[in-house]
């Protein structure tokens, strides 16, 4: 399903974090939001997720206006930079959380949930880690758990806020590749935030470059490199 962001603006106190942003993300696309720190990437992603709400503008999933829908109802998976795992739950319970909290009528049987957990553990290459606790895992492993947890309820959209930001280069690259494979395998529509242009270009179908709350250019990596839309883009990707 497509995501449409139409003329979204958001201010914190007096400073505009987003100043009229429009984006149209095609079904199945993998898009990177790229820009320097403070350019509004996180704010835009959180508004798409329903964790923040715009002052003006509209968010559509497909044809549906979801601008006022709460995050819990949007059918998204969200991955945070610092994993945000539930420390008092095992890896398996973390991953199963989205299913465990479903009302009884909608909840799959216990065995089905466990099967789904095993399937997800395999998908993120953490088979056999179900009984561990987050504190017993490395950063890269934790982010894999966070990814599996976000996918448990089969979201249509996967939103990731600097998911590799806290990891070292080698783990970053591994996870990056794994993410792209998972995206293609499941047929998700994904948006991920980064301030690293190499990462954005290596991973995304299209890259949206933000600067001071505006989109400077939204195009495929090759296009951006060949025809940067502004002096800012030229210098930022150099």
């Amino acid at each position: 399903m497509s995501i449409r962001v139409e003329e979204v603006s958001k201010r914190f106190s007096t400073y505009p974090a987003l100043a009229g942003v429009s984006l149209e993300i095609v079904d199945g696309e993998f898009v990177a939001l790229l820009g320097p720190s403070g350019s509004g990437k996180t704010t835009l992603l959180r508004i798409i997720a329903g964790l923040d709400f715009p002052d003006s503008g509209v968010i559509r999933f497909g044809d549906r206006d979801v601008t006022d829908d709460p995050a819990a109802k949007r059918g998204i998976g969200f991955v945070f930079q610092h994993y945000a795992l539930f420390g008092h739950m095992s890896v398996a319970r973390n991953i199963a959380f989205g299913l465990d909290i479903l009302p009884r009528r909608a909840r799959p049987a216990r065995a089905e949930i466990e099967a789904r957990v095993d399937e997800l553990l395999k998908l993120v290459q953490l088979e056999g880690y179900g009984e561990r606790y987050p504190a017993q895992l490395s950063g890269g492993q934790r982010q894999r758990v966070a990814l599996a947890r976000a996918l448990a309820r089969n979201p249509r959209f996967l939103l990731l806020d600097e998911p590799f930001g806290a990891l070292d280069t080698k783990v970053r690259r591994e996870l990056r590749d794994a993410l792209r494979i998972i995206h293609d395998e499941i047929g998700l529509t994904s948006i991920f935030v980064t301030h690293d242009h190499e990462e954005a270009f290596a991973l995304a179908d299209r890259v949206a470059i933000l600067n001071a709350g505006r989109i400077e250019q939204f195009a495929a990596p090759a296009e951006i490199l060949e025809r940067p839309a502004s002096p800012f883009v030229t210098s930022f990707v150099a």
């Binding site: 997720a49 329903g50 964790l51 709460p70 995050a71 819990a72 109802k73 998204i76 998976g77 969200f78 945070f80 610092h82 945000a84 795992l85 539930f86 420390g87 008092h88 739950m89 959380f97 989205g98 909290i101 479903l102 606790y133 504190a135 966070a146 947890r149 976000a150 448990a152 309820r153």
Partner: protein
């Protein structure tokens, strides 16, 4: 085994944090001087009367009723503080409103106030002609000179323990963890019960233990409102004072020993529960 054979093993176990031996030594010495030495004299004193004398003093009907009242009221008061202390901590951490700092200072008042002042003030309010007591008494809810009055006094002195232990933990709880639960479809209620509550549970347990222990030993604020009827509203610390006034030092010490043992056992159990809980999630 010779000392030489033992040495390398000790070496290898050396902690990365230096100074363990010294700081541990000072801590033990300090605790011995400040806590254990005075307490041990209680045991010595009570031993002077032998087993039979001990049980006559510490195991009498009147003493039993007093233990039940002191620990029962402390338990109920700590439970009440658990709920309302969490509520107050929540409001202090999560909401920013005018007068927030003032409210924070009010929470600490029970720490600072001489307990007798608190006791007299509470009695004034909850007695039959008092501000609150005059409303409650006609409804068949007399407070002063009943166990209920004791519970209220103990709620008063115990409140800061729960608020001040839970507050910093609540403050550190990451917003992202809650947001993660929400994006996974959790309601506010589910987020609170399944994410926030387990995370603050150890702090709540600590606050509960402190409020409970303080309540069990509390004297000053209770005796004014309690009425002090033997078997009904006489708390164990008061019974100890009564014995002392009758110059029955060993008898008073015997009751104190029983109180100490009960308190210590309960604190130990609560501590063990916490260690177990922490190990599960560490």
């Amino acid at each position: 085994m010779t000392a030489a054979a033992l040495l390398p093993r000790l070496r290898r176990k050396r902690s990365a944090m230096p100074g363990l031996g010294l700081t541990l030594g000072i801590s033990l010495l300090w605790l011995s001087l400040i806590v254990l030495l005075p307490l041990s004299t209680v045991f010595v004193k009570s031993a002077g009367i032998g087993w039979d004398g001990f049980w006559q003093a510490a195991g009498s009907e009147r003493a039993m009723a007093a233990y039940r009242l002191s620990f029962g009221a402390a338990f109920v008061a700590a439970l009440i503080n658990l709920v309302f202390g969490l509520l107050v901590a929540w409001v202090l951490v999560r909401y920013h409103f005018p007068g927030r700092r003032l409210l924070g200072a009010v929470v600490d008042l029970p720490f600072a106030l001489p307990t007798a002042v608190a006791g007299i003030a509470l009695t004034t309010i909850y007695s039959q002609n008092g501000l609150v007591g005059s409303v409650l008494a006609p409804l068949g809810l007399p407070i002063a000179y009943r166990p209920a009055g004791i519970v209220i006094a103990l709620v008063f002195v115990g409140l800061p323990f729960v608020v001040r232990t839970v507050e910093p933990v609540l403050e550190q709880l990451s917003k992202e963890v809650e947001e993660a639960a929400i994006t996974l479809g959790a309601t506010r209620r589910q987020t609170f019960l399944r994410i926030i509550l387990p995370a603050i549970a150890p702090a709540l347990a600590t606050g509960f233990s402190l409020a409970f222990a303080r309540g069990a030993g509390e004297y000053g604020s209770v005796i004014f409102i309690a009425g002090n009827m033997p078997y009904r509203t006489e708390i164990a610390p008061l019974l100890i004072i009564t014995q002392l006034e009758e110059y029955d030092y060993p008898g008073a010490a015997a009751i104190a020993v029983v109180m100490l043992m009960i308190s210590f056992t309960m604190l130990l159990v609560l501590n063990a529960l916490q260690v177990w809980q922490r190990r599960r999630s560490a």
